[in-house]
């Protein structure tokens, strides 16, 4: 068993050395979502992450469409908008910049998109990770996938907390306006 473990570790380290010169390697290895994941798990994900380039105002995904990928912003910025149900007005709910993650909710819940994502800068580079790859990751690297899931849950909680706080502020503002 010791020999097998040593062989595996040897192979992993050699592969890491080989891919360390690849584009996006350092960026992803130091990303808060992925920095705690083990080498083998990281290599598994790194092999599957896909780079996409978007022009300004180009749609990345649209509200109510089926969501398959979560995106990490490598460069540029992305606007996240929600269309109000009662009229055509659009609320800009977030602006994602380098290092930010978006689209994680559909990947976790496997539901339709709750917002529309649009590139806000020319040559916005995104790194996409599909829910199918994350499912495989859960199968082959269960311990690392726990860490990743924890990171995504933290992100969702943080966004939820922000949204709750903003909803409370807006509710108070609405009541103040109604009282006048």
């Amino acid at each position: 068993m010791g020999l097998i473990k040593a062989l595996t570790e040897f192979g992993t380290q050699r592969t890491l050395r080989r891919v360390s010169s690849s584009e996006h390697f350092e960026f992803l290895r130091r990303h808060p979502l992925l920095q705690d994941i083990g080498d083998r798990g990281f290599l598994f994900l790194f092999d599957r992450i896909v780079e996409r380039l978007f022009g300004k105002d180009e749609l990345i995904f649209k509200q109510d469409n089926l969501g398959v990928c979560l995106f990490v912003v490598r460069s540029g910025s992305v606007l996240l908008e929600v269309t109000a149900a009662n009229d055509d007005s659009v609320v800009l709910v977030n602006r994602a910049s380098e290092g930010d993650i978006f689209g994680e909710m559909s990947v976790i819940t496997e539901q339709y998109r709750t917002a529309t994502a649009r590139a806000d800068a020319h040559d916005t580079t995104l790194l996409a990770m599909s829910s199918f790859d994350l499912n495989d990751f859960r199968t082959y690297h269960p311990a690392d996938s726990q860490l990743l899931l924890r990171g995504l849950t933290d992100l969702v909680c943080k966004n939820l907390a922000t949204a709750t706080r903003e909803a409370a502020v807006l509710q108070a503002e609405l009541q103040r306006l109604q009282s006048h």
Partner: protein, 463 residues
């Protein structure tokens, strides 16, 4: 500036362009289909074997080394199988060819483009004019067949044992023995008629013999004769086949090596072709069809292995009580399992081939029964137990569409087309379901935005 909605005309021309491109692409693929067969075969094998390479990479083995090891294992297996199975296949093929000649009317034998064993051109055949003495023939008959001399004369009408040439008695006797064994279809008919007679279902066993003998001759004239005529053409084109074989192998092994070493790059290359506007549906369709393909192909390998074992185990008891040998059983088990890869048509083909082999090489009624029951048991177990367990509900294509698909696949891509017909149809079904159900409301057309409200947090910028 807000993007303007795509006009109806622009959308029509876009769809027209993609449809024309698709049609042209398919036409191009059809034109180069001879090259596509080895490429597709290699990609197929690579798809099945890719998990082995990735697992080896996890153990610290470099891709190049693991591919070399895999190739060495494949070549070793092929060589060993060749050494073990080829002599058996060779003898069975010889027996098949010799046997086929038995059922061709004499007048038609002269029209065949290849030397007929019945005309004495082959080294192991009975030549015209050669004969044995009545005593020797009687001894052979007593040992090998249940019929008497008169009946023997009936089913070998053109061979009259009159005089014995000097120094040829033993070899001629052996030839007679072979000839009697080869005439197994007639003998089988006699055995069946005797069984039917013993059960009281037939008044006179000779009637059945005559009937089957006539049927055999009709089959010989209308089925086997055309096959042998075609066979002659095939032998005449051996050079062409050898060239095709070399070309196939050259492309196959190179593509297989590249596909195994750069499988992930190929996958990324395919994804990079997907436009941004349909990126997520593209990933979804690719993943779902790939999942279905994976299930089907890996399931097919497992299914083939299970069927080969079941076929072999079913035939083994018959080796003890009939003339069936273990090696012959193994060959037939592999034939049945491998031909089963082509759905619907394959099992029929495999059953007929196995039956032909046993008819020609053995005169035993029990062996025939064994093969027939093996084919039936294997099909029953495959449809009720193995297929539902291995494939689950991944490729649920209606049998009628299966037949149409397999025939269509055969026309377009030969054997590989027939093998791939069902997973391709399954893939089309998956895509159709995704487009009509999962992605029914999918829409990436840019629409004019109404009033834009910006939350204070966003308006203030990063904290």
């Amino acid at each position: 500036m807000l993007p303007t909605p795509v006009s109806r005309h622009a959308r029509f021309y876009r769809y027209l362009f993609f449809t024309l491109a698709l049609v042209l692409g398919l036409l191009l693929l059809y034109q180069v289909r001879t090259l596509m067969t080895p490429i597709l075969s290699a990609l197929l094998v690579a798809y099945i074997m890719y998990p082995i390479i990735t697992s080896a990479a996890k153990w610290g083995i470099r891709r190049g080394v693991s591919i070399a090891m895999l190739f060495a294992a494949i070549f070793s297996t092929l060589t060993y199988s060749g050494i073990v199975l080829l002599p058996a296949l060779h003898s069975q093929t010889n027996a098949l060819v010799r046997g086929l000649f038995e059922y061709i009317p004499e007048e038609d034998k002269s029209t065949l483009p290849i030397p007929s064993p019945a005309r004495g051109r082959g080294p192991e055949t009975l030549g015209a004019g050669e004969a044995v003495t009545d005593g020797e023939l009687d001894a052979v008959l007593a040992e090998k067949v249940v019929m008497d001399h008169t009946e023997m004369q009936e089913f070998l009408p053109n061979e009259s044992p009159t005089s014995q040439p000097d120094g040829k008695a033993a070899s001629t006797k052996r030839r007679w023995q072979r000839r009697l064994v080869n005439a197994s279809l007639t003998r089988l008919a006699v055995q069946i008629s005797e069984r039917l007679h013993s059960f009281g279902m037939l008044k006179d066993p000779l009637e059945a013999e005559n009937m089957v003998d006539k049927v055999a001759r009709v089959i010989g004239q209308h089925l086997i004769l055309p096959i042998l005529k075609e066979w002659g053409a095939v032998v005449g084109q051996l050079t062409t086949y050898a060239k095709d074989f070399v070309q196939f192998n050259f492309i196959f092994w190179i593509v297989l090596a590249f596909a195994l070493s750069d499988g992930r790059k190929i996958y990324h290359g395919i994804i990079s072709l997907i436009p941004n506007s349909v990126f997520e549906p593209g990933i979804y369709i690719l993943a779902k069809t790939s999942e279905m393909f994976g299930y089907y192909l890996r399931g097919l390998v497992v299914e083939t292995a299970i069927l080969a074992i079941i076929s072999f185990l079913t035939l083994l008891p018959f080796c003890l009580i009939s003339e069936l040998t273990v090696m012959l059983s193994l060959v037939m088990a592999i034939i049945i399992a491998v031909t089963n890869i082509v759905r619907v048509i394959g099992p029929i083909f495999g059953g007929v081939i196995s039956l032909l082999i046993v008819v020609v090489s053995s005169t035993d009624f029990i062996a025939m029964t064994g093969v027939l029951s093996m084919v039936a048991i294997v099909q029953l177990m495959d449809n009720t137990l193995v297929l539902p367990l291995v494939m689950k509900d991944q490729v649920n294509v209606h049998p009628a569409f299966c037949v149409i698909g397999v025939i269509g696949g055969g026309i377009v891509g030969g054997v590989m087309g027939m093998v791939l017909a069902i997973p391709v149809m399954g893939g089309m079904r998956v895509v159709y379901r995704i487009l009509t159900v999962d992605m029914k409301k999918f829409n990436m057309d840019p629409e004019p935005r109404g009033k834009l409200l910006i939350l204070p947090r966003i308006a203030e910028g990063p904290q």
